[in-house]
């Protein structure tokens, strides 16, 4: 194969400089409306973005403070609280305190006590 180029310069669109520049200008003119729309949208997004971080930071601060206040007023429930609240007796309270699953014996015992 050779690298014997064909002379395609008669097809070169930019040889007609006036027409070529005119084509570029036409594209720019037609694009102007869309570019303006995008610039406007970018402006709005930028404004929203400008306020978004301070707003998010403030919301996070409020959430942390609220959580702390709630924790002080209503301390988190412990096993002891649950046992007291539901008035649970042995062996159920023992399972909860030991954090283990009930055995068959435990279940039989619990049913007998329930009766």
């Amino acid at each position: 194969m050779t690298d014997d180029r064909l002379d395609l310069s008669p097809l070169d669109p930019s040889r007609d400089e006036v027409r070529w520049r005119w084509l570029g200008a036409t594209i720019r003119n037609r694009a102007a409306a869309e570019l303006a729309r995008r610039a406007g949208r970018a402006g709005v997004l930028s404004t929203v973005g400008h306020w978004a971080w301070p707003a998010a930071a403030a919301a996070a601060l409020v959430a942390v403070l609220s959580g702390g206040a709630l924790a002080l007023v209503h301390p988190p429930a412990t096993t002891e609280h649950v046992v007291q609240a539901f008035d649970l007796e042995e062996p159920v309270s023992a399972w909860l305190e030991q954090g283990r699953a009930p055995t068959t014996d435990d279940l039989v015992l619990a049913l007998e006590r329930g009766n």
Partner: protein, 184 residues
């Protein structure tokens, strides 16, 4: 310093007219070559280039910024094919602006160039579209085999062979004496 397409696309997305202008100037010639390889009519190719850039701008958010050139060329090719199909159904009216813009050059030069252009287009017309595209990108736009291969999804060797066949066919149709008869 040459600004990368990626940066320009991001700026154009935000409505930066200057960035879009650079993209247009940078890719207009290639877009024209791709369009011409399909429609084979200079004024139609110019029309396709215009519409493709506007379409690309409207859909710029869906473009992967570092793949802008390949993405734009797909738009150009699809638009050109679409125009070609429409044209087969109904020969379109000449574009208003196409007739409105006159060349600044000597009318005689214009005529000569128009004649040469017609001859080249006629010689290229029977070639498969892919051959025309490779030929225009290489011999008109000065792309390298590797670049064409990447853009069109072809192996470099295939690009070379396609180009060889396209040149040979055009030369034969133009009635040139073949200086070399060697096969690849």
């Amino acid at each position: 310093m040459r600004e990368e397409d990626e940066t320009l696309v991001l700026r154009a997305r935000a409505g930066d007219a200057e960035a879009f202008d650079v993209l247009v100037r940078r890719h207009m010639r290639t877009a024209y070559a791709v369009a011409l390889s399909v429609v084979m009519e200079p004024t139609d190719a110019e029309d396709v280039v215009q519409d493709s850039f506007i379409s690309a701008l409207e859909r710029l958010d869906s473009c992967q910024p570092d793949r802008f050139a390949a993405w734009l060329m797909r738009i150009v090719r699809n638009r050109a094919i679409s125009l070609q199909r429409r044209r087969r159904v109904r020969r379109s009216e000449p574009l208003e602006w196409a007739d409105g813009v006159k060349s600044a050059e000597d009318p005689g030069t214009d005529l000569d160039r128009a004649r040469l252009r017609e001859q080249l287009l006629e010689a290229m017309a029977p070639l498969p579209e892919r051959q025309r595209e490779v030929l225009l990108l290489h011999d008109l736009e000065g792309w390298r085999h590797r670049e064409i291969g990447e853009a069109l999804g072809m192996k470099e060797g295939t690009v070379r062979y396609t180009l060889f066949r396209a040149r040979r066919a055009v030369r034969e149709r133009l009635g040139y004496e073949e200086t070399r008869k060697e096969e690849p």
